[in-house]
Amino acid sequence: MSNAYKLESYEALAPAAAVAPVLEAARRPRIRGTESGMHVQLSDTASNANLYRSHVIGQARLSMATLLAPEPSAKTSFYTVQAWEGVVESVEDADIYVRVVDKTDRSRPESFATISKDEIDQEDLDLVKPGAIFYWMVGYETKASGKKRSSFIRFRRSPAWTKTNIQDVEKKANELLNRLQGVVASPSGG
């Protein structure tokens, strides 16, 4: 019975049949039905990971009371033992000097390390610059083939400065300057 709730069962349906109830769900207001005899208005921001499944599975006329936790859809999972968030302090040749904050044990002080560029994914190399933020995770990766130790370093992909952002900055700068108008140089005698 549990297989019916997995995402894979949704994929197994013919595309038209799969999409139609979902599209209908997308258009309906988000009010759940008759659990416990009460209508419960769902928040607009509640995860709908179950919602489209429930409508698909509703076609099978199963009890909604059994539609609960989302089933794992990822074939690979990563269990984190240690997480750091870091910033690049400087890059010199192939060496990246980093400062990291321990996200697993926040009582620990900032730490510093040198990492080789060889450790960085090819697709992140362009992001390695002073001030760049990255995440370094250590843990266990579980795939179909089994469980093994793993770690990855991943750089934050920041959006680029837009014209709007720059206009906002200029506005903030003007506000600051307006505040400081009239502040004179240090007079004699302090």
Partner: protein, 218 residues
């Protein structure tokens, strides 16, 4: 007891008028929101004007005409998911996003069935329900908390057993909802600022509540 979750999931939802058909893996790729390889290998379920659903290695994307939803079931990628949403919103400076939902979910496997039932008895004592029911069991408990940060919204905490599992599984979750409806115009900058500022406090609070609930079981 000190039981760590077997799985932690986060779903980040932002409400605002968008066009689902825009949100293709290719769009994510050309805007450098994700790695090229992740976008190239994404599995698309559907992309239409009304809905986009696809999965990448660690990511599930679900876009409707009124919301963008990103989800990851790998806790290591949680901050990456947050950054991704910030990156998406930065590309839409004119869209009036009005609500954010941080949906945290922990799945616990209780080693013993007695512990699993003990949580249900603790959160939903059966005595007030009288003698009529036969083998009553808790289906779901939901409690709403107000926000302490001065913003409109709420935090709906839920505890429910996963009846589809045979591993004594319990799901503790929260819909941490922030609304900007009363703040006009609500710029994407405000929304992204809130995502960045509230992310960790939201998660910390959820983990605290979850840990408190679990610790009450012996």
């Amino acid at each position: 007891m000190d039981l760590k979750p077997a799985k932690s999931i986060v779903t980040l939802v932002v409400v605002g008028p968008v066009s689902p058909a825009l949100f293709t893996p290719h769009w994510f790729k050309v805007n450098e929101l994700v790695r090229e390889g992740e976008a190239d290998e994404a599995k698309i379920q559907v992309i239409t004007e009304d809905i986009t659903l696809f999965q990448a290695e660690w990511l599930e994307v679900d876009v409707r005409p009124n919301r963008i939803q990103l989800r990851t079931m790998q806790d290591a990628y949680q901050p990456v998911l947050r950054d991704l949403m910030v990156g998406i919103l930065a590309l839409m400076p004119r869209v009036p996003f009005t609500q954010i939902g941080f949906n945290w979910q922990n799945i616990y496997h209780f080693p013993k069935i007695d512990q699993y039932h003990a949580l249900g008895h603790r959160l939903a004592p059966k005595e007030p329900w009288g003698e009529t029911m036969i083998n009553p069991g808790m289906l779901k408990v939901a409690v709403r908390s107000e926000r302490s940060d001065g913003r409109r919204g709420f935090k709906d905490f839920r505890v429910e057993p996963n009846l589809g599992s045979t591993d004594n599984e319990v799901v503790i979750s929260v819909n941490d909802h922030v609304s900007f409806d009363s703040e006009k115009p609500s710029s994407p900058e405000l929304v992204t600022q809130c995502i960045s500022e509230y992310w960790e406090p939201s998660k910390d609070e959820f983990e605290k509540v979850a840990a408190t609930l679990i610790s009450g079981v012996n």
